[in-house]
């Protein structure tokens, strides 16, 4: 059994805005083992990026971890000062962002921006850092790395820029790579290349990855474990097989119904999830998904359900499961 690299326990993150407190992440817990790839799935505003940023202490102004503990590689992240966090960021944990077009500083060369992080966290000289940067560029599959080092971001395509971002993220061989929708802004062929590259590098470097996405296809091809988030809460957690073949939460089921399948009959319509996400300023008292849920019961609107374990590594928060358990049924045979 490999070591636990990241342990999130009852983490709550709030943003304090003039309009009031927004509980962007509300009491979530999960673990990530060394070498694993964890997918965090959910629609926009479900708190998946906020969860990831809280691991790096990268929350935007106004955002704060207000409860729980985040333990990463022997550090208690939520109790560290900005100065201590700086030693970890880019070094032990790195992140790649959604939009490679804007994530690189337009006025500095690629080489400069890769070297910067190497020099920050190692004793390497500028020359050594440049050599390492060249190495990294060929590692992420960029041709003519020597030439690229001297180029500016605007001279590179989106896919290339995302590769550069990955090179920056990997520069100090982090234990954990957070990928915040790394392929959303890229076209489909490039998406596949980038995912393949990440899978490759994971093996080579031996890091763990947290893959944040709303693309279930990405999750299926890369992850071992999946966290499904809705309105700041984890509604279901399980292995890829659990989530895809034995989904328990109505939201997960809805998500799966909304993606096309290869073996579907022609002209079969996709089923969208009706309604829109909850207002995070005034979240409902009960299950946040209840207003959109087809199987909503009275209790769903009043109280948030506890987690029901379907197996050791698969649990979900839904009253239907609680009901089933109460009636003596087994959640395993849906």
């Amino acid at each position: 059994m490999s070591k636990v690299l990241l342990d999130m326990k009852n983490v709550r993150v709030s943003f304090f805005t003039p309009a009031g407190e927004v509980k962007a992440v509300n009491d979530i817990s999960f673990q990530l083992k060394e070498g694993d790839v964890l997918g965090i799935v959910g629609e926009s505003g479900s708190g998946k990026s906020v969860t990831a940023y809280s691991i790096m202490g990268l929350l935007a102004t106004g955002g704060r971890v207000v409860g729980g503990t985040i333990d990463f590689n022997g550090h208690r992240i939520n109790e560290m000062t900005e100065k201590e966090l700086r030693k970890i960021r880019g070094n032990e944990v790195s992140i790649i962002f959604q939009d490679p077009m804007t994530s690189l500083n337009p006025v500095y060369t690629i080489g400069n921006q890769i070297c910067e992080v190497i020099i920050q966290h190692t004793d390497k000289t500028r020359k050594e850092a440049m050599e390492r940067a060249e190495e990294l560029l060929s590692l992420v599959g960029i041709n003519e790395p020597k030439k690229r080092l001297k180029q500016y971001p605007h001279e590179l395509s989106g896919g290339m820029r995302q590769r550069v971002m990955i090179a920056i993220a990997l520069a100090c061989e982090p234990k954990l790579l957070i990928a915040d929708e790394p392929t959303t802004a890229l076209d489909v062929t490039i998406q596949a290349q980038i995912l393949e590259l990440m899978n490759d590098l994971k093996e080579k470097i031996g890091m763990s990855i947290i893959m944040i996405t709303h693309d279930l296809g990405v999750v299926a091809s890369m992850c071992q474990k999946i966290v499904v988030m809705y309105a700041g809460k984890i509604v279901e957690y399980g292995s890829v097989d659990d989530i895809f073949y034995n989904p328990q939460h109505e939201y997960t089921k809805g998500l799966l119904r909304s993606i096309p399948k290869l073996d579907d009959k022609e002209h079969k319509k996709l089923v969208p999830i009706e309604g829109s996400p909850v207002d995070m300023l005034n979240p409902p008292a009960g299950c946040p998904f209840a207003p959109r849920c087809e199987s909503c019961m009275k209790i769903c609107l009043r109280e948030m359900p506890e987690y029901t374990a379907i197996s050791d590594d698969h649990y979900s928060a839904c009253w239907l499961l609680q009901k089933k358990e109460f009636e003596g049924g087994s959640g395993k045979n849906e």
Binding site: R89, S103, L104, V117
Partner: protein
């Protein structure tokens, strides 16, 4: 780059020719002439004077003569200040104005930029509010009010600073302050808003995720991107401030170019009007060219075409 420069120089020549033509026409459309005074000279004297300066010829001939001379680099003699060439007068005035104006711009840049950054970094806090308040006042209060108020405080009440002339460093304080007040305020406002914009950019988040210290994020990543609007503003500002402000030069009795320009207009000193206008136009064009090149140096995305 060379091709670009040639293009810009050719464009500049056309612009200056247009400015010269326009100024020449306007100047002759305005009633009056250089020799009209309360006690008009006799008709014979007047005719002699006009003949001497070629003012008796038709306007179109005068225009042709002027342009021909201008191409040869000769801006003629001042009509009002006998025996001095226009180039000489402009050069003398410009030396004085440029020194005062240059110091004022240095002050404006070195106070305005940090002030804007500080305000942006403390967004919404009291320090930001104070800076915004001061800079709003700064852009609202005209230079002559600043000059006069300074004079009342430091010269009349406190008797600390001299009110006219430029014979020691003390003389420079009040003119420089009056000149720098508006640009300082304006630059700090520009800097604040562009800094706020830059700080919200994705690449700043990237910089933070790299574990860079605060100063490196600010000076390396933010400043270079945020300073571009200030550079844009600096071009025309340099041209106008170096050539002197008529108001400030009048208040502090500085023998600069701004003063010379206005008195040449009121005195219908035709050659001086033409000379100073063309000089100012050339300076604006030159500064804009420098700004465009500085842009290219700061931001590699910009293509000079």
């Amino acid at each position: 780059m060379a091709q670009y420069l040639v293009k810009r120089v050719l464009l500049a020549i056309v612009t200056i020719w247009l400015v010269a033509t326009l100024t020449f026409s306007l100047m002759h459309l305005v009633p009056g002439g250089p020799f009209l005074a309360e006690k008009s000279p006799s008709a014979a004297t007047l005719q002699a004077l006009e003949e001497k300066y070629g003012l008796d010829k038709p306007v179109i001939v005068q225009y042709k003569n002027y342009i021909v001379n201008l191409i040869q680099g000769d801006m003629g003699e001042s009509i009002k200040q006998r025996g001095r060439t226009v180039s000489d007068l402009i050069f003398t005035g410009f030396k004085v104005s440029a020194r005062v104006g240059g110091i004022a711009i240095l002050v404006a840049v070195s106070i305005g930029i940090p002030l804007g950054c500080i305000a942006a970094l403390n967004r919404g806090k009291w320090l930001d509010n104070v800076i915004v308040l001061i800079s709003t006042c700064g852009v609202a209060v005209p230079g002559f009010v600043v000059g006069t108020v300074l004079m009342i405080i430091f010269s009349v009440k406190l008797n600390l600073l001299p009110t006219y002339g430029l014979s020691s460093w003390k003389h420079y304080i009040m003119p420089v302050m009056s000149l720098a007040f508006y640009p300082t305020a304006y630059i700090s406002r520009l800097m604040r808003s562009s800094m706020l914009e830059v700080m919200g950019q994705d690449y700043m988040r990237t910089a933070r995720s790299k574990g860079l210290p605060q100063w490196k994020m600010l000076f390396k990543h933010a400043l270079r991107n945020a300073v571009l609007p200030v550079i844009t503003y600096l071009g025309p500002l340099l041209a106008y401030t170096l050539t002197g402000s008529f108001v400030v030069e009048k208040i502090f009795t500085i023998p600069g170019l701004g003063n010379a320009f206005i008195s040449s207009i009121t005195g219908r000193d035709y050659t001086m009007i033409m000379g100073t206008t063309i000089f100012l136009a050339s300076l604006v064009i030159l500064m804009n060219l420098i700004v465009d090149i500085a842009y290219k140096v700061i931001d590699p995305r910009i293509k000079l075409k």
